[in-house]
């Protein structure tokens, strides 16, 4: 009874260990790494072929309603944020971490201690090997070999026996260490990205010169002092710039002129010069042409500044430009005028008219339809013949506390990949065996990567070994 229980327990614990080993084996496997990288590449490709994060109409127009339904189901319209994309990323992290856990300790150990004593048969079985008989003294040959290795930057370990001396030479182990540094960096980068997603934010602000905006995330205010555009000689836009001032508790903190590649940073919040455009709810100036209703002749013209009264004395008129919409729309429910889009499709201004000291109605005047309404009680017709748009500055406002971690991970990645591509781990063994005629040298080596260069190096080493015949004899 006891024996049986014991045996099953044994079997159980054994199988658990086996399962664990199998799992580690699976997660650290090269095959999984390759599979995950290719999967990630394919998923990313899908994301570039199908436009991401568009409005439904765009997809329906291009692919039809059925296909769009499938796109939504499969997450293709925002593939980089789907559960399966994240899963692949997480698996890639697990994969590289398990690989590190599985393989790094052995590499670390071999930096400190290595297999020096090997048999002649082991050396002859290596990918590159040579056997040379020399009529020379064992100690001299061993010394010459040691020098030859050291000259090439190898670290040499020697083991002297009764009739044989074994030399072990190695270099470039850092190449393998750095490959694992690169593996770790993947997780660091993903962690940084995740942190940024959780704690960071990204916003977009349409801001006007002279206005102050509250930034709730940083609990301070932002004043736009100035916005302007620089042009090249040929008229192309060279840069656009905004001068911003951070105001905290009523005090000016920083003033900086930002431009496309030069953001303002305050309290971890970044303000980017992202875009610019024409405002849809105000203009700088507007030009009004006044006609006499009876004769239809132009009797006056005025250039009106935004919300400033202008007087046309000879006509007894006072005009004020009070409102503007770029794409006239009327909300019947709220009885409110608004701009349907940000495009200047159907621009209109609201004009407050005072004629002979009598306040008339403030009509909407349309740029595209000059003769739409007749203004009651006025001798004149008013036409909007042009306006100067007010530019807005588009600011991207972002905070990403994960970014520093991403940079650390990126540095590790680049350094790791670079070193592991440049430094190849090489190991060479030489066994010098005393014989009657002198010595027999077994020389053999392997390279982890970079076979051609190692071939050449090994070739030179074995040639150098043969020349020892003359020099030491």
């Amino acid at each position: 009874m006891d024996a049986i229980t014991k045996r099953t327990e044994d079997a159980k614990s054994f199988s658990f260990k086996e399962l664990g080993d199998a799992l580690v084996e699976f997660f650290s496997s090269l095959k999984l790494a390759i599979f995950l990288m290719i999967t990630l590449a394919i998923l990313s490709t899908v994301g570039t072929v199908i436009q991401q994060g568009e409005r439904p109409e765009v997809y329906i127009k291009e692919y039809g309603e059925n296909v769009y339904w499938w796109f939504v189901k499969l997450g293709f319209v925002d593939i980089y944020h789907t559960w399966y994309f994240s899963t692949v990323l997480v698996l890639l992290c697990i994969n590289s971490l398990t690989c590190f856990h599985q393989r790094f300790p052995a590499i670390w150990r071999s930096i400190r201690q290595d297999k020096v004593n090997v048999t002649a048969a082991f050396i002859q079985n290596l990918k590159r090997s040579a056997t040379v008989d020399l009529p020379a003294e064992r100690s001299k040959v061993a010394e010459a070999l040691g020098v030859a290795f050291a000259e090439r930057g190898y670290r040499v370990l020697v083991n002297k026996g009764g009739t044989e001396t074994t030399l072990y030479a190695t270099k470039g182990i850092m190449g393998r260490v750095s490959a694992h540094v690169a593996h770790l960096s993947v997780t660091v980068i993903v962690a940084g990205g995740l942190l940024g997603n959780i704690l960071g934010f990204r916003d977009f602000g349409v801001c006007l010169e002279g206005e102050t905006y509250h930034v709730p995330q940083g609990n301070f205010d932002l004043h736009v002092d100035k916005f302007w555009i620089d042009y090249y000689d040929n008229g192309a836009v060279k840069s656009y710039n905004s001068t911003l001032t951070v105001i905290e508790n009523g005090e000016k903190q920083v003033t900086k002129t930002i431009t496309v590649n030069d953001p303002l940073v305050h309290k971890g919040i970044w303000f980017y010069q992202s875009s610019y455009g024409d405002s849809w709810d105000r203009v700088e100036k507007a030009r009004i042409v006044v006609r006499d209703k009876a004769t239809d002749k132009v009797v006056g013209e005025a250039i009106l500044d935004w919300r400033k009264e202008a007087e046309l004395k000879n006509l007894g008129l006072k005009l004020q430009l009070t409102d503007f919409v770029a794409d006239f729309g009327f909300d019947a429910k709220d009885r409110r005028v608004y701009s349907k889009t940000v495009e200047h499709e159907n621009p209109a201004i609201k004009l407050a008219i005072t004629e002979s000291d009598r306040q008339l109605a403030a009509p909407w005047i349309f740029y595209n339809y000059p003769d739409l309404f007749e203004i009651q009680g006025s001798k004149y017709k008013f036409e909007l013949t042009g306006y100067l748009t007010k530019k807005f500055t588009g600011l991207q406002i972002a905070k990403d506390p994960g970014v520093i971690i991403v940079w650390i991970g990126s540095t590790l990645l680049v350094v790791g990949v670079m070193l592991s591509a440049l430094i190849f781990h090489r190991r060479v063994w030489a066994k010098v065996v005393s014989e009657r005629h002198g010595v027999t040298v077994y020389l053999g080596g392997t390279a982890y990567k970079g076979q051609i260069d190692f071939d050449r190096e090994f070739q030179r080493l074995s040639e150098q070994l043969k020349t020892l015949r003359q020099s030491t004899a």
């Binding site: 980089y80 836009v237 840069s239």
Partner: protein, 302 residues
């Protein structure tokens, strides 16, 4: 503007001449190989015939082409400086292509100097020539140096773009070597002797050189993409926005990452690796050209 365009033209013709000479070299060496016995090619000085001088000439013409290419880029940099105060001679598709061909040819000459194998020239210089040719086929408005749009007007353009393009050049070399491997392998499997393929280096060597090229391109691309992310963090308000171009660079990087890992297993040397190198280069071409012309995104400046 016209000075640099003229120099780019001269580069094109020089590379064409170099390609012809390298192929001539191959054919001449094949003739030199013919009298050899029992499949042991012996190439002694007398047997060489035309091969030796042709090979020398090819190398010199290539070198001269590289000089003119460099000069053209320098001239373009000067013209840009005059025009807009930034000099990076890789600021549009045309200039980028010219720079890539410069990097390919420079890489090849380094290879020839180090390993002394001219036969590779016929393939790798061809890739460089095709890059230059494709550039000169671009419409004129793509070839001239327009002033930079605001987003590109930054010192990041010097380092991010040049490093990424250099990595493309390394992948191009790997692609050319892959084609070479496949051709030689096919000739060998059919047991054909006395063809130009005999002048190629051994399969093993081509394979290893291809791998080396990828090992140069891979870290450079990683560096280039990360520099791009840093730039984006300054210009676009975020280091990663899944813009098609950056996503495609990541895709290419992952593809070569898979290749490098696959090579850890013995089975992925030789034939498969060569095929994969060609495939990978196809992906690079798409990343470089296809994305600009087929997909829209933040990188669509050219």
């Amino acid at each position: 503007m016209f000075r640099s365009l003229f120099l780019f033209d001269v580069t094109f013709w020089l590379y064409l001449a170099a390609v012809v000479l390298y192929f001539g070299y191959l054919v001449a060496s094949k003739k030199a190989l013919r009298p050899a016995y029992a499949g042991h090619p012996v190439s002694s000085e007398e047997d060489d015939g035309w091969a030796q001088p042709l090979g020398q000439l090819a190398t010199w013409v290539t070198f001269f082409g590289l000089l003119v290419n460099g000069l053209a880029l320098g001239m373009r940099a000067y013209e840009r400086m005059q025009l807009s105060g930034t000099f990076a001679p890789w600021s549009n598709q045309f200039e980028a292509m010219s720079y890539v061909s410069f990097a390919i040819i420079a890489g090849y000459l380094f290879l020839e100097l180090k390993y002394g194998i001219k036969a590779v020239g016929a393939f790798v210089v061809s890739v460089g020539f095709i890059a230059m040719g494709a550039a000169s086929l671009l419409p004129y408005r793509y070839q001239v140096a327009e002033p930079l749009v605001p987003a590109l007007n930054s010192y990041w353009i010097y380092i991010h773009v040049s490093i990424t393009l250099t990595s493309y050049a390394a992948f191009a070399m790997a692609g050319g070597l892959g084609v070479m491997y496949l051709l030689k392998e096919r000739a060998e499997s059919r047991g054909r002797r006395g063809t130009i393929y005999d002048t190629f280096p051994s399969l093993e060597k081509i394979d290893e050189l291809g791998y080396k090229s990828v090992m140069i391109g891979f870290p450079l691309l990683a560096f280039g993409v990360i520099l791009g992310a840093m730039w984006a963090n300054y210009a676009w308000g975020g280091y990663w926005s899944w813009d098609p171009k950056e996503t495609w660079s990541l895709i290419v990087w992952l593809i070569y990452g898979a290749y490098i890992h696959a090579r850890m297993n013995r089975g992925w040397e030789g034939h498969r690796a060569a095929l994969y190198q060609v495939f990978g280069f196809g992906m690079v071409i798409f990343c470089f050209w296809g994305v600009n012309f087929l997909l829209s995104g933040l990188h669509a400046y050219a």
